[in-house]
């Protein structure tokens, strides 16, 4: 008997009653943490260390409270909806994403309209609620698809690197042996010079077909928003999650103040969010094999996302059969193996690039080393970030607190926040993914079927 883990019977009686709109306190804290993170992302720029970093630290505090919070339930306070509206409004003032003037006006106007849509959902009027949710999802999806069309060449190296590597793969050339054009024309000092595609090969297996079909891999990122919301709605309804929590989650994901910036920049975190929500849906439905496959796919897509896999391993090491572990691990490794066989040294160089190449923290990173580097002060070593993530995972895993899906997601968010705050690289796309984890975790925290 694990003393820290509540009785599953308590879960059934103490959690939400969808009809009454009650959610657990941990869900409320998780939403608050997610909204603070998105606010931090929206004010990135000159206010990075004045407002952004303190907001991230506050978000970490709320995320820890979400993990530790009791399962007591309460009605969703109107102040949470107001906080959602306030965060969405920050999209009006978010940094320019390099689109034509009309597009910048439209995306800011959409954020302003989003505030009203949030208010309409908050009224809980069934007709207006449904309409506002549909408009928010459809409008944001449409703008996500328009973004790559109108911002063809954003001034960020992620896009030419991913595009060049995807096209190389389509032409039968090893993607880790090609060089992308320097979008900065030599005008960038990141503490390293990108000489190889620095992301996982699984990303190319997704992006290459989309590049072949539509000419731009970023349409795959645009597609992630409706897929995420569809999976979340489907999974949470099956799991008996709170309708209020689901409404808040949908509005936060759809009206994320920097959602279009993520698509524009070619960051692959929207793909991670799809996999994270697929993991949650499978786990809540009791399909441990599918959940294991999904959670092991996360580090196969992005190097830093180790926490959910580790915590899932701690929590369900006995529930998942050895065959399921092998199959899931094999599927994740299968995305890497062909590239290793093809050219091992180049593939390893690319996959390990982010850990080996940097010579100093990025002064634009929303992290403590980033702040120290920007002030030309001494900073901690690069390995502290990964160590922080592993230590938090080990602490939560050993304390046996991470048995249910919600706790695994929320604790993963805590571990990643610690890693990013101690990291040499920590940008808005990283924090947006953590915000998504918190939102998914919040919905899972209200599910009646979350198996312990």
């Amino acid at each position: 008997v694990q003393r820290d883990w509540p009785n599953p019977d308590v879960l059934l009686t103490e959690r939400i009653s969808p009809a009454r709109g009650l959610v657990s306190i941990r869900a409320l804290h998780a939403f608050q943490a997610a909204l603070l993170l998105l606010a931090a992302c929206a004010v990135d720029g000159p206010l990075r260390f004045v407002a952004g970093l303190p907001l991230v630290v506050a978000a970490l505090a709320f995320a820890v409270r979400a993990v530790m919070a009791p399962l007591r339930r309460r009605r969703v306070p109107e102040s949470l909806w107001i906080l959602v509206a306030a965060t969405v409004a920050l999209g009006v003032a978010s940094p320019d994403i390099g689109g034509p003037t009309w597009f910048e006006i439209v995306r800011r106007a959409w954020s302003a309209a989003g505030v009203v849509l949030v208010g309409l959902v908050a009224t809980r009027d069934p007709v207006w609620r449904r309409r506002a949710l549909a408009i928010a999802v459809l409008g944001s999806t449409a703008l996500s698809f328009v973004t790559p069309m109108v911002i063809r060449n954003p001034n960020i190296d992620v896009v030419p690197w991913t595009s060049t590597a995807s096209r190389a793969l389509l032409h039968g050339i090893h993607p880790y042996t090609v060089l992308a054009p320097d979008v900065y024309d030599g005008g960038a000092d990141f503490g390293f010079s990108v000489q190889v595609y620095p992301y996982m090969p699984a990303t190319l297996l997704i992006f290459a077909p989309v590049t072949a079909l539509l000419g731009d891999f970023r349409y795959a990122l645009a597609m992630c928003l409706p897929v995420t919301i569809w999976l979340l709605c489907r999974g949470s309804r099956r799991a008996g999650a709170s309708q209020d929590a689901l409404d808040i989650a949908v509005m936060v994901l759809a009206l994320n103040p920097i959602g279009l910036a993520v698509v524009r920049s070619g960051w692959n975190e929207p793909v991670l969010t799809v996999i994270a929500v697929a993991f949650a849906a499978a786990a809540l439905a009791g399909s441990t094999s599918l959940a294991t496959a999904a959670v092991l796919m996360l580090p196969a897509l992005k190097q830093y996302v180790l926490a959910p896999a580790i915590l899932w391993g701690f929590a369900r090491r006995r529930a998942v059969t050895p065959f399921a572990w092998l199959a899931a691990g094999g599927a994740a490794f299968a995305t890497l193996l062909p590239f290793l066989v093809w050219n091992a040294s180049s593939t390893i160089r690319g996959v390990m690039f982010q850990m080996t190449a940097p010579s100093h923290p990025r002064p634009t990173a929303i992290s403590i080393p980033g702040l120290l580097a920007s002030l030309s002060l001494a900073y901690p070593p690069i390995w502290l970030s990964a160590a922080g993530e592993l230590i938090v995972c080990a602490a939560i895993g050993l304390a046996c607190r991470g048995r249910d899906v919600a706790t695994i997601l929320l604790a993963s968010a805590v571990a990643l926040l610690v890693a990013f705050l101690a990291g040499w690289q920590a940008f808005v796309n990283y924090y947006t993914f953590v915000a998504s984890l918190l939102v998914i975790g919040a919905v899972a925290a209200t599910a009646r079927s979350d198996p312990a």
């Binding site: 000159p46 969405v88 030599g186 005008g187």
Partner: protein, 123 residues
């Protein structure tokens, strides 16, 4: 309109107001370019930019420019900043472009834009 919708709109307006106040506070009290000018005036240090992610591009030249920092129509203070501009632009072109007074940066250890760093690109 429903009171809940109005309160949400109020939350949005408050968030934007807070953002605006923070921006103004930053511009008035924490502006790094104003600090660079004061450092130069007091002889604390002549270096304007010594780190950051922006460095001069291929075929760029560095310029040090003094410009007026406006808050809407109101002049706040003077900024001293480093600009990266194509070598085809003269000092006059750069000064006209930034609406201030500029000089080409020195080279070597006397450089005020250290290690080729700049904060803004022209054009």
């Amino acid at each position: 309109m429903n009171a809940t919708v109005l309160r949400c709109i109020g939350g949005g307006v408050l968030a934007l107001a807070l953002w605006g106040v923070t921006q103004i506070g930053y511009a008035v009290w924490l502006c790094p370019f104003d600090q660079a000018r004061r450092n130069a005036q007091h002889g604390t240090t002549t270096v304007i930019v010594e780190n950051g992610e922006r460095v001069r591009r291929t075929h760029d030249v560095l310029f040090v420019c003094e410009t007026t920092h406006y808050l809407g129509p109101m002049a706040l203070h003077y900024d001293l900043d480093c600009y990266c501009a194509p070598e085809t632009m003269s000092v006059t072109d750069v000064a006209q472009s930034v609406d201030g007074s500029c000089v080409a940066d020195s080279t070597g250890s006397a450089a005020r834009c250290a290690h080729g760093h700049c904060n803004r690109y022209l054009p």
